[in-house]
Subunit: 320 residues, 6 copies
Amino acid sequence: MKSMDMVTFGETMVLFTPARMLPLEYEHQYYKQMAGAESNVAIGVSRLGHSAGWFSKLGDDPFGGFIFKSLKGEGVDNSRCTFTEEAPTGLYFKEKRNASDVRIYYYRKHSAASLLNLEDLDEDYIKKARILHLTGITPALSKDCREAVFTAIEIAKQHSVKIVFDPNIRLKLWKEGEAKKVLCDIAEKSDVILPGLNEGTFLTGEDKPEKVADKLGKNGKTIIIKLGKEGAFYQNSEESGFVPGFSVAEVVDPVGAGDGFAAGVISGLLRNEPLSMIVKRANVVGALVVGVNGDSEGLPTNEEVDHFLSRSSTDEDVIR
Amino acid sequence: MKSMDMVTFGETMVLFTPARMLPLEYEHQYYKQMAGAESNVAIGVSRLGHSAGWFSKLGDDPFGGFIFKSLKGEGVDNSRCTFTEEAPTGLYFKEKRNASDVRIYYYRKHSAASLLNLEDLDEDYIKKARILHLTGITPALSKDCREAVFTAIEIAKQHSVKIVFDPNIRLKLWKEGEAKKVLCDIAEKSDVILPGLNEGTFLTGEDKPEKVADKLGKNGKTIIIKLGKEGAFYQNSEESGFVPGFSVAEVVDPVGAGDGFAAGVISGLLRNEPLSMIVKRANVVGALVVGVNGDSEGLPTNEEVDHFLSRSSTDEDVIR
Amino acid sequence: MKSMDMVTFGETMVLFTPARMLPLEYEHQYYKQMAGAESNVAIGVSRLGHSAGWFSKLGDDPFGGFIFKSLKGEGVDNSRCTFTEEAPTGLYFKEKRNASDVRIYYYRKHSAASLLNLEDLDEDYIKKARILHLTGITPALSKDCREAVFTAIEIAKQHSVKIVFDPNIRLKLWKEGEAKKVLCDIAEKSDVILPGLNEGTFLTGEDKPEKVADKLGKNGKTIIIKLGKEGAFYQNSEESGFVPGFSVAEVVDPVGAGDGFAAGVISGLLRNEPLSMIVKRANVVGALVVGVNGDSEGLPTNEEVDHFLSRSSTDEDVIR
Amino acid sequence: MKSMDMVTFGETMVLFTPARMLPLEYEHQYYKQMAGAESNVAIGVSRLGHSAGWFSKLGDDPFGGFIFKSLKGEGVDNSRCTFTEEAPTGLYFKEKRNASDVRIYYYRKHSAASLLNLEDLDEDYIKKARILHLTGITPALSKDCREAVFTAIEIAKQHSVKIVFDPNIRLKLWKEGEAKKVLCDIAEKSDVILPGLNEGTFLTGEDKPEKVADKLGKNGKTIIIKLGKEGAFYQNSEESGFVPGFSVAEVVDPVGAGDGFAAGVISGLLRNEPLSMIVKRANVVGALVVGVNGDSEGLPTNEEVDHFLSRSSTDEDVIR
Amino acid sequence: MKSMDMVTFGETMVLFTPARMLPLEYEHQYYKQMAGAESNVAIGVSRLGHSAGWFSKLGDDPFGGFIFKSLKGEGVDNSRCTFTEEAPTGLYFKEKRNASDVRIYYYRKHSAASLLNLEDLDEDYIKKARILHLTGITPALSKDCREAVFTAIEIAKQHSVKIVFDPNIRLKLWKEGEAKKVLCDIAEKSDVILPGLNEGTFLTGEDKPEKVADKLGKNGKTIIIKLGKEGAFYQNSEESGFVPGFSVAEVVDPVGAGDGFAAGVISGLLRNEPLSMIVKRANVVGALVVGVNGDSEGLPTNEEVDHFLSRSSTDEDVIR
Amino acid sequence: MKSMDMVTFGETMVLFTPARMLPLEYEHQYYKQMAGAESNVAIGVSRLGHSAGWFSKLGDDPFGGFIFKSLKGEGVDNSRCTFTEEAPTGLYFKEKRNASDVRIYYYRKHSAASLLNLEDLDEDYIKKARILHLTGITPALSKDCREAVFTAIEIAKQHSVKIVFDPNIRLKLWKEGEAKKVLCDIAEKSDVILPGLNEGTFLTGEDKPEKVADKLGKNGKTIIIKLGKEGAFYQNSEESGFVPGFSVAEVVDPVGAGDGFAAGVISGLLRNEPLSMIVKRANVVGALVVGVNGDSEGLPTNEEVDHFLSRSSTDEDVIR
């Protein structure tokens, strides 16, 4: 068995988007896509030149097949993914009324992924990885899923697999109190934490990046707080600082920026780059994602990241 | 409150069909439609000139709104329909690989409609109706739904509301043994039963229409057994016979024929027509439904039924 | 017969929009929608919790059926709508070359609605309403239509039904001189007038809101002049003032804002709110309409209006 | 001025067809096409290698532009076509419920083409043509159109231009009695008449091809009666006979076959071929049209006609 | 390096199909798909449970990426595929005028795949395979491609890799004389040959299956001649016979049947089944492919083949 | 033969654009359009009321037919266009990731147009024209094409046909050094040169409009340098100056602006207008093109140019 640079797990769903920017009630035509925070990260890490493994439990139905094949096509190792006939592949609908009014309708409550449990964990697969990536979505899916997350954490800690945790708070999926308790618990056990500022506030009660980082970053943890267009703040036991964001010509689709950022961080960790450089490149990955429609379609290769960093601001013309 | 000629209840879902005849795994574009056996019957009865009431529990989401408005638009009284934030509106996907390989993928297991229960029944509404229409789908959705069905039956029987029962067996939704027991129980309590021959065999073990009718048709019940293109067999305490089917120029979409047939029977019962005439017109309604795409789009008015019965076979030309 | 809070009448058409922003000459694919100022107002008033009746004369064709069912689905009472085989349902095509170059191509000149006449008025229906809503479009459609408008006005005045008049000047439909004469005549007989500033200038020759209001607002009339993003100016015999507009995050589709404003005014009148409050809420309704594609799709409920008024400016995130 | 081999005139409209085979009431997406019997014939004659002129009056709108450019693109001389701002370009919608239930909804009653009149006739253009083609549609459009048709006939007769008349009876456009009178009058003045058998019966009361031909074919006229799949019967003062039809692998779209047949006849007349050969090739043209979707898309070149006549029945494979 | 059960190589292209059955000249909307005989076989062999490797040279462009990811997603090993910036990925357009008039327009003449050459062959990869699959398309693409084919044959023969050859004659790509010479040469060097009857006739001049097999099948070769619906004739040094075809409910898309057949044969060879059984199962694979749209979408798993062989003819109903 | 006001020649291709703004790798649906700099100019000159001839070599395939008919429909004389079976009509795909990241994928390298050569030039046709328009694209297509360009220049110069040259530099098609040499050679022989500022810099090494014009504009040439939104700089032996650009409400599609500008210049030259007026109107034509999607759809008539120049800035409302 080939060992992976990074392993992650969590629900990937089928996303249906209306053909036009109309309330779903009035729209008749829809497009099928693939969406999932953990698989976005896996695709991103893979494009940046590392081996990335992802798994979930999919329904034994055409949508499960679609997700499985799409991720395999993207070069992600999905050999540990399991299928079930007990429940269908989760899906959701996105209603975009206008740029600032986007609504999400889930069909994931009793989905196949919510049945993911302890038995779906391949201990050997996790312990041979260099990094375990976790999000705050998976523990919100079901009790079984939560148990799987904490067991994976134990495996990782026993074998010195570095844990990178992206809170990804989804209050549509569970209660605020429960979410806070569980996510703080995971954060406590993680090595690298990647909250947005709002998420950091949710977890710590603080609203300044430095304060959030102080509270979360005990015991030698690395904390990187995403600040949107402003960039990011980072802090570990040795250094701390701000890295400014990159302006992009046009934000076509903001979704997936955080996943791209996480992929950039993980890639940098795997290359043992200095923290400030890691955060800078992670910023670029996030910036490139938002310039392309779709959550994962814009995830760049290393060449594209380098090109972005070196470009002059004037060579934007179409070359024919 | 206006009293209804017929009342029915049961799950209406949103149906997504692929734009092309491709396996869903490979299809990217989908169309939204409305589908539900009970609401098809309500639309059919309404087009035939009667007042028809339908209710279900819908999700408090855009798909629930779409169904609610569509049925209201079709002239169905949906004033007793309820909404919930606890669960989403059910939906399903239809995969048509070729004319004889059609597959259904449900997202209805924990849908809003499965939460329909005793408290959603308006006793007054049911008892003032002349006919209560029931299908074998509703009791398969959940324990709550089943309880609601049997309570509705009790209300109907107490107030001499005639019960018309269409078995509509859906073995994807429950176990065979349970289905048989419950459906026989409902049949026992019904006044008019409308099985297909296969369904009659499932319920009675007999495979000849006459035998099926004998077993089901005790205590003065009216039994009408649908025989597809061959027509139908009918039997009540006074008369029995076969009515041949109507050939249609082209079967565009066979789904919904049974619901059209049921609407035709109910309309005839409301008009107190003789049984053989009722079955003949019901055959026409079913035949007209299959000549049009969609489950309910082809449901005819009385004028269209009369026109079909009186047409000569040669006047099929386009009139420009 | 249930009496209506508001009654309106006028042509609702089928609108075909090109799939892409291309000159119609070069576009091959079109989408069907419903469009009509009066029916927009009826939908809006209905969503705000009142009973609203609308009628027109529709063609006895699939497009007439589409309009009839769509409005019924939206909860509008269309029981007085009539159908004719003499003429088809009106339709039009919208060519959007760019945001400021939109062209309209009508097929409404001899449409079914233009045949609407005195005999289509149900005196009883109008006289029991609390408000009669009229636009300046209907009298432009034909002589018969104009006669119907003036007869409806007479009925209203005899039975103290309040007349709300929205000029909606359409110079593609009639000559400027004729339009001015007829519309001033209607304004003279109305209780509440809702012109845009341009329309006020057309009717009075004045170009300041206060002057327009002075000229139009004799005999105790209420005048509300729409000033677009700037808000509105109002004046009746007791009070007058400006209400500032609400900025919306994004104007997706400006069409229908005026109809939403009218619905908001009518709702406020029905609730006997103070004039300044009426205008404020009408502004919100108009603002919410332009944030959604389509003329009527964005019309809000009272809850949505309240939510808009109470929202903080920062809680715009997608909740997942 | 270049003189034309054939001149024809009559309304070409924009046709909207639903994206799916659904009743129009329920269909949301439409495709734009071009349709017109006379322009079909002009395209057909042009593809067969002759010069063909067509004219009508189009609306000064995008749909008029679309038709004008499309016909020019097909090589038809449309230099005599006129435009008006008085009325829009005619259009119609086709509802295909199933193969034998097709319904047409016209928006042509007061269309631009109905304003075509005497003044639009260029006497010089008509008198220099070798053949004038007329259909029974044009005189049904308006009194002005009818007058134009009879004036064109006079011009043709004065200058020995051969008149080819295809009845194309459209009873949606005028009354049966009026139609019969006018069409018989035109037939009387024509040199070559191309009725379907039904049309021949309508004009003569006879139902056998030979009898129809006898009644219509006085004074040296050439009569060719289209018998669908059975082929055609022809008769002039010198010869008569049946030509069997050609079976085609698949009838994809039957519309336009008659126009193709007319184009084939006109081409043969221009080449002075023997009548039986003319009819045979006209049959081929019609057969080739129905194997392709659209009214005119399948109209063949001479090479394609020759290829069809010479093909062996086995070389149907795709050549890759 | 994992060794493959089967290795194949050859051009996979992007196929564009019109949205409607219209001549391409008149169609405005197209769908993108993937198409290639060798990759179809690789997908088929992979679905039947074996490891299958495929390679070609793709353009370094989005279409190359699309093909690469799609094949990886289908479980095909494409690790030996190369990319070039010298030429674009090949593509073609399919024009379906009707069921028997399908036309192909290639953009493959100087495509990336035509640059595939000796240097793209990984000797180690080929020699470790159990079967090398070749088609008659690859040698037709260019001189370089032809050289690669013959070199691959040499490698295979040196290492006792069994060669399965499917002639797939494409006379649009080369001259008849050249094709015959080269294909006979390849056949001579192959172990298993899978011609259609026409292809067998092209190669041998014989037109009876037995005669074709005699001429091709010297030196212990296995010959399997595809006879379409009639089934297939097989012959090796030990046995020979006919296997009847399987009727399928509906032929939705005949393309890809031959590739499915080849996949079935290869799977049987890998399992060392008796020849008659191999041909029977290959027939089933081909039959299942034609019941689904697309060249490869209908390729079955072993379970689906078994299910097809064991099904009764009556259980075709939709299970809901 | 009618002599043309302007003659041009060069490749017109079929352009496929994705239905959504997605990377091509992930997009499944495409639209077909027509695109070509020289044909854009021909359409533009024709709309401005002159006769314009265009020719190229097209493939004898449906895409060649589509281009041929489309240009004929636009009123361009394409009588000298030739067809070949040796190569297909060129095509390209446009990938629009966001407003500033547009990528082009060509299938034109061995296209039909690249086979255009000396023998396709009709000397008589060129020498009778008043203006010969050339772009820098045609000489980049092939050696044959380049030879044709220089031969056409010779013909023009011998017969005093004015040569208007638009550099249109396409570095995807040839090497920089070769391009510079050839284009400078053509510029040297031209009468009017229309570079963008970048192109002027490429040809002369200067980066100020005045300097570029000095270097290019020897021997009485007219130089007009396009400066985008800033307008244009012009210079001939008698006068020079800047003309400011026109702001347009919205730039919908910037492609085609340069071709529109060239058409405007040519129209002005044909009318013998003063140079400053020529440049002013050319600016308007370019401005109107970018307000409409598509390269040529927005090309204006003289009336539209006049209207644009005379409009007040406030009359932008939709007239209904």
